[in-house]
Every structure is written in structure tokens, then in C-alpha cells.
Amino acid sequence: MTATATRQPVRRHGTRKFRLTPTMSVYIALVVLLVAGSVLVGMRGGVLLDHGGILNILTRGTVLGLVAIGQTMVILTGSLDLSVAYLIGLCSLIAAETMAGDPGMIVPAVLLTIGFAAVVGLVNGLVITALKVNAFIATLGVALIIRGYLENTYTGPAGSVPRGFQHLGYDRIGPIPVSTVVMLVLAVIVWWYLTRTKGGYHVYAVGGDEEVARLSGIRTGRTIVTMHVLCSVMAGLAALFLVSRLGSGAPYVGTDAGYDLESIAAVVLGGTLLSGGRGGVAGTIGGVLILATLDTIFDDLGVTPFLKDVVRGAVLIVAVALYARSQLARRAR
């Protein structure tokens, strides 16, 4: 069984026919959307992808991207996280209040925020794995607990961020915000983790079939808990980014934007199966960009926010229906 490392598996590449993966279709859809949007906006005398437009799409995509990356990880294990929105609010307050305008407190505040987020993720994970509570209920419960704390403790924005920290939210490289670069780097790291490392393999295994994973010697509980911790940490990072934009912590900054359901929508739009085991971060980023682009196009067209919701809902359903359909077709073949 040794001495095989040198052998090349030359002969069996199987039949590698071209297959349209969900990830590819997401990006094709994105390109189509950008082209169609450019035409529509152009007809009204505007330019979709000018400097401001690109900046806009990327800025909008950044926070949702961070949250959705985390959400992708938990959804891949077959779980989900409804607590991210309130967690973002609470984390923004923790960060801003700890910093309290003092540049020297930036590092402690960032560490504290991420640490706190990790603890919340740990609680989510343990409630799901140890208490065997359905992920929907577990994270909804945690969300409600955080919400109660926020409502009871905060009356509005609190804390303040030193100027130095605001660079995170406002600096950019050409038309690309620094924060977007950070988000994309994190996306690449998570993509690498999920597709290249042992831990990532186990995520797909747990999401694909928890019992099979267990019988194969994978510590399924640990995998789920880890992903929940990472998801919450991503939410914490999203909060840090928001704080740097807002200048202070805001209790409802996560819920006003609906990051809980919106991030799930982005993940699913990106071709990840809600039941887990299939999909990935690349698709999610595509999904996020589609949502951000839609928003920007609608803004440029001066469409009311109500129509946006209608279109968003319809896009979500249609996209998932198309994935389900291609899945069926493949099975029938």
C-alpha cells in the first residue's frame, strides 16, 4: 500500500464532460445581470459600472459577504444560523463601547468582539449538538435572547470608534474598498479551508450524511460546533466593519438590514443546498454580488424599495427552483 505516491493515476480520468455547476451558473447570471443592468441604466442616461457604481456594489456586498461566508459554513454542515443579525448588533456595541474613541483600545476591542462572537457561536453549536435542539430553534432562541438583552440595555447607538479604526470602513484601493479586499481574502481562505483541508472535507461529509460521517470516524459534533463558532466570528467581523463605517455601535444595525434571512438567501442563491453537503463559498460570493448588483441597479433606476423586495423574493425562489430542476434532470439521466 506504500510506494504508490509516485504512480500517476493517468488512465482513469473518467469522462470529464463539461458540466454547468451551480457556481458557474451563478456567475453567468451575475454577468447577464450586469449587462442587462448596464443597458437599463444606460437607457436612463446613467452608467451602472462607473467608479461610484462599482464602489457601491462592493460596499454593499462586503458586510453581507462576510455574514454569508459564515452562513455558508454552517449551512454546509446541514445547520443554519438565525442569530447572526442580533449578534452583529451586539458585537457592534461591544466593539464601539470598548474602544470608546481611544485608539489604544482598538486591538483589545477587536479581540474582545471576536472572542464574544466565538462564545455565542460555541453556545449555538453546543445547544445543537449536545442538547440535540434543531438548529432553527436553537439559533432562533439565541437570537431572541440577544434581542432581549439589546432591547433591555440599549436605547440607541452607543460607544464611539477612534478615527484610526474608521479607515477600515472608508479606505479603498482604486474603486475597491479595503474592507471588500479583506472580505474577499477571507472568502479565499474559507474556500481553501473547505475544499483543500481535512476539516473542510469533514464539513461536506457531515452535511452530506451525518451518520455516514460518524461511522467514518469523523467527530461530527466538533465539526458542527466549529462551523458555528466560525460563522459567529464572521458575524463579529461584519460588526467590526459596520462599526468602522457608522462610527458607533448600533443595536439594530444587523436586524434592520435583515442579515439573518438575507445571508441565508445569498447562500442558497449561490447554489448551496439548504440541507447541507453541497455548494460552497465561491457560489455564495456570487449570490451576494447578485443581490448587491440588483440593489444598485434598482437604486440607479429609482425603483421603490418595495419593488426590490418583490424581485428579491422572486429571484430567490426561481433560482432555487432552477437548481432543484437541474438536480432532478441529472438524477434522471
Partner: protein
């Protein structure tokens, strides 16, 4: 791999050059402490507002939206330029009837001025972060003037500062920001005046020892906090008993339930509200419990005025007039034409009483319409507001 990425980023930096949209350090240092959790009470401002209630407005008598109280005019010559103009507006949201009425009024106002060639609006859908992006987007376009109705005071301050830094005139209305950089800040007298007027009315009706229930929308919004802060002091000073302070979230059903609960426990003589949206369901709670309607302070909402009229309520309606949505457009044009505007444009804040009820109430409007829209003479009235 990571090394490669670092090199790549560095290369990109070199190519494109790093830049920042972060505004220059704010001129007012005071903004930082006021962003922390505050007690929402400022004695000087409180006193100023109470005295403003009696000040005589300057400006056309039949157009309160063009009036100003104790204005300090600022010169706007540096913004003057020939028309036509593109005016931009970053709206916090249109998620409640008050904003809805105001928003319609503003849209019509914009059509009244031929020198406005384009009125560009972005709606932040009540998201702070989106409004920051919106303001960035608007200021990167061809706007000649920017109107901002901030979603939250503290969190929108940096974005407004950034917009000021671009050199275009910025007009803020409704909720404020913690910076003096906008050319003008348009608002009615304010929350202290609103709350105090309502509280004084109730105190006079329920008398010493009377029980008043305070219904508030939600905590943390400064305008609303000011209303209660002033009311709380007056009620205490007049010896009125506050039976409770509850948050209704502007949900009629919730407000009605809360009041029903209180009525099960005992009588309530007066209802103080920081926002009159739920006034009618609250009154219904008294009806449904078979109790006499209390003294109540509502707002200029149509259904409340209708009920007041038909049932002869003991009521008063301090207002937070929706006509303030007209003013920013007028202000923007004045600024672009180089005319002087008040640095703080304080609009009068009428109070509807039994005597003035008929004057303000217009029949046939939808229940959630606000009477002080200042839109009665506008083209398309009343159908556009129905």
C-alpha cells in the same frame, strides 16, 4: 500562496493608489461624547425650545414651511451657481405613514420648481449602512445639493461630514446629525416642546394625583426621547401620577393590549403619547373596556382628529408637522441661488386644540394622513395623498 497575494495587493496599491472616503477630522470635537449612551436631556436646549414655542415666526404667514423661528442667517454665496439644478435626497426610509405623507409632499414640492432638472432619491430602507453608501453614491454623482434625512443621528454623522467635505451644500432635516457642517438643519421646534405641551395639557386636565399612562414608540430615538424627557419633568412638577411608561412599537394592537391590561388594573385618567399613531386603538381600549375616554394627547393624524371631532374628546394634538418635508427643497434652491438661509431653520410647531380642530381637519382624507402636511394647496391634492 499568501505571499503571492501580498505581492499582488501591494502591486495593486502601487497601481491604483490608495485613497480614503473618510472625512477630514470633524470640526466639532463634541460629537464623540454625545454619541455615547446619554441621558437624552439637555437643560439649555430644553429651555430654548420651551421659549421658542412663544416666539413669533418670520416669513409668510400662510406658509409655515417657509417660516423660521429666531433665525441666524448664513451666507450661501459660495454655493451659488446657475440652474438648472440636480437636487439629491438621501431618505432614511418610507416605512411609516408620517414619512409617507411627508415624502409625497416633498415629491410634489420638487415638481413645483422648474429650475430643478433632476430630483434623485435613494431610499436607505432604514439601514444605517445603506444610507452611508447612498450618501457616498450621491456625492460621487452630479448632485448640486444634497438633502439628507438621517436614519440615526450618531451613526450618520461621519457620512454627512464626508458629504460636506465634497463641497456641495448639504441640507439636513427631521433628525439631526452631530456636526455643524450642513448649510442648514431644518426641523420643527423639537421634542422638548412637543412633550412639554402635551404634558402641560394633560396636567391641566387630570389635575394633581391624576393617573397618566405614557405610551412611547421605542427607546433611543433622540427626538422621541426629548419628548418624554420634557413631559416627565412637567408631570412630576405638577404632581401627576405616571401609571406607567410603555413602548408600543407604533403597533396599534400592541398599544391596545397594553392599555387594556392597565385598565384591568385600575382607572387611567390621561394618556400621554410621544407619537399619535396608535391613539385611536388606545381610545378603543377604553371603549371596549366600557370606560370613559381619557384626556389624551395625540398627533395630527386624520383618524385621531376624526374621532376627536365626532366624540368630542378631551384632547390636544401637539404636532411634528409633515410640512417640514417641503422646506429642504426650498432651502436647497435658495442656497443654490446664493440666498441667505437660517443656519438652524426652526419651523413652527402648531398645536391643535379644540378651537383649532376644524381649521386643521380636512374631511375625507385617509385615516393615516397627517393634517399638517402643508399640502392642501398643492397640485393633485387630495387624490395624491389618498
Amino acid at each position: 500562496m499568501k505571499r503571492l497575494m501580498t505581492v499582488g495587493v501591494a502591486g495593486l496599491l502601487a497601481l491604483t493608489g490608495c485613497s480614503s472616503d473618510l472625512p477630514e477630522a470633524p470640526p466639532t470635537v463634541s460629537s464623540a461624547p454625545s454619541a455615547t449612551k446619554s441621558e437624552f436631556f439637555d437643560q439649555a436646549e430644553h429651555d430654548r425650545q420651551l421659549s421658542l414655542r412663544d416666539a413669533a415666526p418670520q416669513g409668510p404667514a400662510d406658509k409655515p414651511w417657509e417660516q423660521a423661528l429666531n433665525p441666524t442667517m448664513v451666507d450661501t454665496g459660495k454655493y451659488a451657481k446657475p440652474g438648472p439644478y440636480e437636487i439629491c435626497f438621501s431618505n432614511a426610509s418610507v416605512d411609516n405613514p408620517w414619512r409617507q405623507v411627508g415624502w409625497k409632499t416633498m415629491q410634489v414640492e420638487a415638481t413645483l420648481h422648474p429650475e430643478i432638472s433632476k430630483f434623485t432619491v435613494l431610499d436607505a430602507e432604514a439601514k444605517d449602512d445603506k444610507q452611508i453608501s447612498d450618501i457616498q453614491q450621491l456625492t460621487s454623482g452630479g448632485c448640486h445639493a444634497l438633502i439628507v434625512s438621517p436614519n440615526t443621528t450618531a451613526t450618520l454623522t461621519p457620512a454627512v461630514e464626508a458629504a460636506c467635505a465634497k463641497g456641495i451644500p448639504v441640507i439636513v432635516f427631521d433628525r439631526g446629525v452631530n456636526t455643524k457642517c450642513p448649510v442648514t438643519f431644518i426641523h420643527p421646534i423639537g421634542g422638548y416642546a412637543f412633550g412639554a405641551t402635551a404634558a402641560e395639557f394633560l396636567a391641566s386636565k387630570v389635575g394633581q394625583g391624576g393617573k397618566v399612562l405614557a405610551l412611547r414608540v421605542l427607546p433611543g430615538v433622540d427626538v422621541l426621547e426629548h419628548r418624554w424627557a420634557a413631559a416627565e419633568r412637567i408631570l412630576a412638577a405638577k404632581g401627576v401620577q405616571v401609571a406607567g411608561v410603555e413602548f408600543t412599537g407604533n403597533d396599534g394592537a400592541k398599544a391596545k393590549s397594553i392599555v387594556s391590561d392597565y385598565l384591568q388594573r385600575g382607572d387611567i385618567n390621561g394618556i400621554w403619547m410621544d407619537d399619535g399613531t396608535a391613539a385611536v386603538p388606545v381610545l378603543e381600549a377604553f371603549e371596549d373596556a366600557g370606560k370613559k375616554a381619557p384626556a389624551i394627547s395625540g398627533e395630527d393624524q386624520q383618524q385621531f382628529l376624526d374621532k376627536w371631532k365626532t366624540e368630542g374628546l378631551t384632547a390636544q394634538a401637539p404636532t411634528y408637522p409633515t410640512y417640514q418635508w417641503r422646506t429642504p427643497v426650498i432651502a436647497a434652491l435658495k442656497i443654490l441661488k446664493g440666498e441667505q438661509v437660517p443656519q438652524e431653520w426652526i419651523l413652527p410647531q402648531p398645536v391643535i386644540t379644540d378651537q383649532t380642530l376644524d381649521q386643521y381637519r380636512s374631511q375625507g382624507m385617509p385615516p393615516l394622513h397627517y393634517a399638517l402636511c402643508g399640502c392642501q394647496q398643492m397640485p393633485g391634492y387630495p387624490d395624491k395623498w389618498k
